[in-house]
Symmetry: C2
Subunit: 458 residues, 2 copies
C-alpha cells in the first residue's frame, strides 16, 4: 500500500508546489495586529484542504477569541490503532527588513529549485509535506493510524494560548506519540532526527536617565548616559573566554558526553561552507568547544536588538534619555529557565549604577530538552526517513527552541519525534527564506512512510 | 541716543514676539532634504525684515548651489568706525520625537512667559534679539558701528560650506570683532559672557558579521554577534573612574587652573535644581571634578545613538547582521581633533576581534577654544549686558561646540564675543524647546547697548 501512496506523491509534485505557494502567499504574521484577518484566512485555507481529504476539521478560537485560532483535524479513529499527534504552525515571522528580499516575502517565487517566501521552511513547507502525505493516504485506503493534526498560529509569538488549549482538550488530543517537523536536515540530502533542543529566556533591558534627550555639549560628562551604561552592562555578560558571566549560569549544565562529542565529530560538518554561506571570515564562541557543540549543547547569551538615541543619517548631538536592548539566552537541558531569568535580573541590578533606572522585562521561558535516542519510535522514524530520502538519517541536536515539545510532554505526557526537512541555509527568520523543492518531495514521502511505520508502534 | 533705542525696543515687545513666532513657524531643518524649500524661504523671510530696516541684504548660495544659502546684511560702512561681524544661524535641529512635544514644533506657542518651538533658543530667538536691536537703531539715527550680519543655514549639520564662504568673501567680511549669540545665561536673570567652548569629534562605528540576520537558536553561540561585540568595544571607552580610556586622549588637556575652579565654585550653581529639571536622582562623571568642571572643561566620550537587530515590540530571535553606534567626543582647548579621531579609530581597531568587520566614519571635527577674559571688547560687552539685563554678567565656559568661532579666528583673524541669552533649561535639541520672553526682551536691549559700546572699540 505504501508504494501506491508514494506513487501518488510522485505524480503530484506540481500540485504540491502550487498549493504550498498559495499557502505561503497568505501573510500570516502572528505578531502584527494588522494581519489578524490573514491569520484566520490562513487557518481556514488549510482547514479546507484537510476537509477535502476527508478529515474532520475544526478551526477553534483561543484566548477567549483574542488569540489566533488553532486547527485540529482528525481521521476516523479506530480503536486499537496507535494515535499520532502531528504538530505544525501556520504563523510566520515578520518579514522585515523588506528591502533585503530579492522577491517580496508573500509572493512565493521559485529560483534554483527552491521556493522563496516568508515561512517557506518555518513552518509552512514542512506542514505541507504532511498534508501531501495525508491526502495521498486518504486517496487510497485511508490513513493507517489514528491521526490528530494540530496546527497553531502563535508559535512565533511564544505559543501563548497553546498550553491552555492542550490542557482543555487533553482528552480529544490523547495520543501515543507526537511528530513535529520544524527542524532541519543535517545538510542537503542528509536527513536527520533531532533528539535535543535548546531552551530560551528572552528579555528586554531598558536603562533610563533624564526624562528627555539632552544636548551632548551642554550636558555631556556631567549626566549619566544610558547608552554608555547599557553597553557597559551588556559587556559584562561574557568573560574573555566567551563564557556567560552570570553567577550560577552554568551550575545545572550537563557536560557533553564523550559519546555525543564523537558522534558529532563524525558528522560531515563543513566549516568552510558554513563560513562562506554567512559571508564570515572566522567564527567565535565559548572556548573549548567545537562549532557543533556550541550550537547543539552549550548555553548562550546574545543581544538581539539595540535601540537608543539618534538612528538617522549623519550626526545628532544628543545624550539619549533611554537605551534598550533585547537580550536572549539559549539554555541547554537541565538549566531552569526561571532560575536563569532570576540570575540575569539580579546580576544586572547589582552591576547597574544607581544614577539610572533599570527595567527588565521577560517575554518568554522555555527549557531545553533531550529525548532518548534508542526508543522504538526513533527506530521507526529512521526507517521512514530512509524510505523518504533514500539515505539513513543522522542523529543530531538543534540549537533552536521548540517550546511545544516541552508542552506536549507536560500536558499530554508523550514524547515527540523531531523530523525536520529544512536545510541549514534556509534563512529562517531572515530575508529570502526558502524551502528546497527536493525537501518538499522527500519530506512528503517521509511523512507518508512515517505514518505507515508508526502503525506498528506498541 | 541709546535711551531712545531702548525705548523703541520696550515699545515693540508684542511686535518682536509676533515676528519671532513667524520666524519659528518656518521648518528650516537643514539636515532633511524635504525641507530644502523651507530653508530658502526662511533665509528670504529674514532678508526681507533686514532690508525693511534699511540694510543691504544678500541671500547667497553655497556649495555651488547644493548647500543652504547664507544671508549677509550690511549697513553703509563709514571709514574709521569699528566693524562688527554678527553671526547667527537660521537652521534648526530635526524636531523628532514628535510625540513628546506638548504643542507642535513649528506652531510656536506661548506658555508661562516663554515661546515653545524648535529653534526657539537655538538660534532663532537669539538672532531675533539682534534684529530687534538693529531695527531700533535704524529707526533712529542708524547703527553706531559698521555692521555685517551673517546668518547661515548649516550650523546644525556642521557648517559644511561656511569655511569656503568665509575664505572666498574674506574682504567683504573683514571686521574688528565678531559677536555670536548661541550660548546661555548662567541662570534665569544671571547673564553670562562665555569665554570657552568645548570641541567635538563625531563618529559612527559599525560592526558587521554575517551578511544577513541569523536565527539566534540555530546560530547563537557559534557565530560572532555584532551587537555583543559593539557593546564590548564601547564599554572599553571609559575606565572605572569615568575617564576616557583611549591611549593619549588626555595628553594635551590643560588642567583647570585654581583661579577658574574658584570662579566656578563662586557661581550660584544649584545642583538640586539641575537634577530636578532633568528628573535625575544623582549625577555621574569623571572622578575628581565638580559638575561645572565636567561640563566646562573636561573632555568626554558619549554614545549618541545605538541601532541593531530587532527594535519592535516583543521578541524576535535574531543574531543581527550589523550593529552601529553614533559616538562623539567633546574636546577641551589644546586637544587636537585630528589626533583624537586617529586615536579613537586606532584604539577600536586594536580592540576589535578579527571575526567581524569594523567601519568607522567621522562626521565632524572642531577644536575647543578659550578667549582672554580681560580684553577691551570683553569689558565693553560686560557693560552692555549690565544695561540690557540690569545686572553684571558672570564669566563662564560652555560645554557645547560652536565651530564658527574657530573658523572666524582662522579665516578672518578676529576674536568672538559669546554673549548668549538662552537659559540652561531651554531644551535645545530636545522636544519642547523654548525661549524665554524675558530673554527676548533683555537680549534685544543688550544687543542694542552692545552696538553702542562697541562703537568705542580701538
Amino acid at each position: 500500500m505504501l508504494d501506491d501512496v508514494l506513487q501518488t506523491i510522485d505524480s503530484r509534485r506540481h500540485q504540491a508546489l502550487a498549493a504550498l505557494k498559495e499557502f505561503l502567499s497568505i501573510p500570516s504574521v502572528s505578531t502584527k495586529p494588522e494581519h489578524r484577518a490573514d491569520m484566520k484566512r490562513c487557518a481556514q485555507w488549510l482547514a479546507d484542504h484537510l476537509a477535502f481529504g476527508g478529515l474532520d476539521v475544526k478551526v477553534m478560537p483561543t484566548g477567549n477569541g483574542k488569540g489566533h485560532p488553532i486547527l485540529v483535524a482528525k481521521n476516523k479513529h479506530v480503536p486499537g490503532r496507535p494515535t499520532v499527534l502531528l504538530y505544525g504552525h501556520y504563523d510566520v515571522q515578520p518579514p522585515e527588513p523588506l528591502n533585503l528580499w530579492v522577491t517580496p516575502p508573500f509572493e512565493p517565487t521559485v529560483r534554483e529549485n527552491a521556493v522563496y517566501a516568508r515561512g517557506a521552511a518555518d513552518d509552512k513547507g514542512q506542514v505541507w509535506c504532511h498534508v501531501e502525505a495525508i491526502l495521498a493516504w486518504q486517496a487510497h485506503q485511508g490513513l493507517p493510524v489514528n491521526l490528530t493534526m494540530l496546527v497553531e498560529g502563535e508559535e512565533e509569538i511564544g505559543s501563548e494560548n497553546l498550553a491552555a488549549f492542550l490542557t482543555e482538550h487533553r482528552e480529544q488530543l490523547r495520543a501515543d506519540i507526537a511528530v513535529v517537523s520544524d527542524t532541519n536536515q543535517f545538510a542537503r540530502g542528509l536527513p536527520a532526527i533531532t533528539y535535543g533542543l535548546r531552551g530560551l529566556v528572552y528579555m528586554e533591558v531598558t536603562v533610563t536617565a533624564a526624562d528627555h534627550d539632552l544636548h551632548s555639549g551642554l550636558y555631556g560628562g556631567a549626566v549619566p548616559n544610558p547608552a554608555n551604561i547599557l553597553c557597559e552592562l551588556l559587556a559584562t555578560l561574557h568573560d574573555a573566554d566567551g563564557r556567560v558571566n552570570i553567577p550560577g549560569f552554568y551550575d545545572d549544565v550537563v557536560p557533553i558526553s564523550e559519546k555525543e562529542r564523537q558522534m558529532w565529530r563524525d558528522l560531515p560538518f563543513d566549516e568552510k561552507a558554513f563560513l562562506n554561506d554567512l559571508k564570515l571570515t572566522s567564527l567565535t564562541g565559548e572556548a573549548g568547544y567545537s562549532t557543533l557543540e556550541r550550537k547543539y549543547a552549550r548555553p548562550t547569551c546574545d543581544i538581539n536588538g539595540l535601540t537608543s538615541g539618534y538612528q538617522g543619517a549623519g550626526a545628532k548631538t544628543v545624550i539619549p534619555s533611554t537605551a534598550s536592548a533585547k537580550v536572549s539566552m539559549r539554555l541547554v537541558p537541565n538549566q531552569n529557565p526561571i532560575a536563569i531569568n532570576d540570575a540575569f535580573v539580579q546580576t544586572l541590578r547589582q552591576r547597574c549604577p544607581q544614577c539610572v533606572k533599570l527595567d527588565i522585562t521577560c517575554f518568554s521561558h522555555t527549557p531545553g530538552i533531550v529525548v532518548p535516542i534508542d526508543s522504538p519510535a526513533m527506530k521507526l522514524a529512521a526507517e521512514a526517513i530512509e524510505i523518504g530520502f533514500g539515505v539513513k538519517p543522522v542523529l543530531m541536536r538543534e540549537g533552536g527552541s521548540i517550546p511545544v515539545v516541552t508542552l506536549i510532554k507536560s500536558t499530554l505526557g508523550i514524547d515527540t519525534l523531531l523530523i525536520g526537512f529544512g536545510l541549514p541555509d534556509d534563512r529562517v527568520h531572515s530575508p529570502n527564506e526558502k524551502f528546497d523543492l527536493d525537501a518538499l518531495y522527500h519530506g512528503s514521502r517521509t511523512a507518508a512512510a512515517l505514518l505507515e511505520r508508526l502503525a506498528s508502534l506498541r
